[in-house]
Symmetry: C2
Subunit: 349 residues, 2 copies
């Protein structure tokens, strides 16, 4: 509880040493003018008394809480652990706490979630926006993690380049007929990944895009994707935009008696937790979430801290949102496992 806590505050230190609270504050923060000896003594007793500044008190005075908000479209997203972990780590290192807010699906809740965070006085917000959502100008610094195609202060993996890497890898095995498996055509991230893939098709190569959501609207949720048929049509490479879909493809193919990787190859995206333990291990492409989080947090922190020190050096829109990172993208890294290899035809009856 904040009430009883460690039981030591500025004035106690001050009282112990017979000085004023202001001097203690100055000594500990290094601001103001305090003699070296006294400062040392103050630091010593502070340590002795186990002094921890009350972030609440400080927040009230400075207007900064030292807390960042993390808004996620849907926590159930399997990528979430990676994101949350990276953000938490980067924020901790920068001395900030992370308040989470799940926007639980719909867009209205996303706005709600953001407002709740602002009410709580967060200094800035990291948003992983819901598909197709634009983040309106809210009155606080924002960093968006999405795809480089998203307008606004966006940090993201270079999904396009990731797509290229996958296709180059597959093409090196002489694959020529690709099925690119996406989920939702409205997703910027997915379109970037698919765009990147298409941009690197080999000479004489051919690629079809298969959207799972469209398929499920016709055949029901969880239905087979009909990949056996695709194999019969000569597709030998199945490149999904997420490991989740790659896993779906892999198991469906295995079940249909198609050998992976000896007959066809399957690849995913994101290196989700199970990708390394399935048999065969899933070839995929990984984002450097740590780097992304670092950039996002650094951008936020820069803006937050500039906000009080210098008046307004850093670009800042009228309403308060800030051009934080100004669009940077982090390269993705190919992770080659066992689901990719040279194709050998297979005759299915």
């Amino acid at each position: 509880m904040a009430t009883t806590r460690t039981g030591s505050n500025l004035s106690q230190i001050a009282a112990t040493l017979g000085v004023s609270a202001a001097t203690v504050s100055n000594a500990l923060s290094g601001k103001g003018r305090v003699s070296a000896e006294l400062a040392e003594k103050i630091r010593a007793t502070a340590a002795e008394l186990g002094y921890t500044p009350s972030l609440t008190g400080r927040a009230l005075r400075t207007g900064r809480t030292g807390v960042l908000g993390l808004v996620l479209p849907d926590i159930a997203n399997p990528l979430f652990p990676q994101i949350a972990q990276a953000i938490d780590y980067a924020a901790s290192n920068a001395g900030y706490g992370v308040l989470i807010a799940d926007s639980r699906g719909d867009v209205a809740t996303q706005t709600d979630a953001i407002n709740r965070l602002i009410e709580r006085g967060v200094d800035g917000i990291v948003i992983v926006p819901r598909r197709g959502t634009r983040i309106a100008d809210i009155g606080c610094p924002v960093a968006v993690i999405d795809s480089p195609s998203t307008p606004g202060n966006t940090v993201s993996a270079d999904h396009w380049q990731g797509g290229q890497a996958i296709i180059e890898h597959l093409a090196s095995f002489q694959h020529r007929k690709f099925l690119l498996i996406g989920n939702n055509p409205a997703s910027n991230v997915q379109n970037d990944r698919i765009g990147g893939m298409r941009s690197r098709l080999p000479e004489g190569g051919h690629a079809d895009v298969f959207w799972i959501e469209n398929h499920e609207q016709r055949h029901g949720k969880g239905s087979l994707l009909g990949l056996r048929e695709k194999v019969k049509q000569g597709f030998t490479a199945f490149a999904a935009v997420s490991d989740l879909h790659a896993l779906r493809a892999l198991t469906e193919l295995q079940r249909a008696g198609v050998g992976v990787p000896e007959h066809v190859s399957v690849t995913g995206f994101d290196d989700l937790v199970w990708s390394s333990v399935v048999t065969p291990g899933l070839t995929t492409v990984r984002m450097d979430m740590a780097a992304i989080a670092d950039i996002a947090i650094a951008a936020l922190v820069r803006v937050i801290e500039a906000d009080t020190t210098s008046g307004s050096d850093i670009p800042r829109t009228v309403a308060g949102t800030v051009a934080a990172a100004d669009r940077s993208s982090v390269p993705m890294q190919l992770v080659v496992r066992q689901t990719s290899g040279p194709p050998t035809g297979i005759i299915l009856s």
Copy 2:
């Protein structure tokens, strides 16, 4: 930013109406004595000015921040999304925010994480402890989510009963030779699940326990589990303590040419995100995370709120930790999909 925010505070409302800030506070909180008409007028102007109380100001005065901490052993855990989502939802409904803290593996960091949260002034903490960790008495209300075998104020799913449900389901298909697949023998949760499973073995049934960590220590990380051999030995049911391991088993078996479910059955635990999309869909057992979160949060809130109202009605250990939920467990629910069915022998060469 907390500084510029909505730009309306108690005194502004007071000034607008020509009354004192104290009266406004009383009117809005319903405490003190304020005439009905004035109270109504105050509420009206508050709404008009878009007043949002400064949680920081309130926190400083009341000593309660309205924030709960969520400590996780390892955010990378695939179960994490479910937990975080449920906790976030329950906490939001109770009017609390959730500050996350990843303990990143080691136990020392777990303590660190807890301390950081306390410094931030959280009113209570929900902990999903690292395997084998005991939560020491810290100076604030705590609710632990683990297994009923964990001492302390624990809320959890009834893992034992979940194990029983799985085995009963499998036994109903006449399975008799079970391989129970666990990861780490030190985990309370896993032991509960396995214990429950063993307790419901059918007449003449036999079960071996296979610990993946032990196996990997000998054969290397990510190596095959050798399930083909197990099938040859007559095992027909492979019951894992997590969907992650079930998936590993499923793909390994498929790859080895063993048909699931026609030859052998595979089951998991937790109904993780991919379980419904793999082919065949994974039979598993689900925790009611929403209920668990509700109980945990409700227990915390009860203690937190009792702390200020009545002196100390609720049991409270000397150091400050509180016997919050006092051990309650929530039943698990069987989710039958396609990986379970009647076994037919298979002859492997």
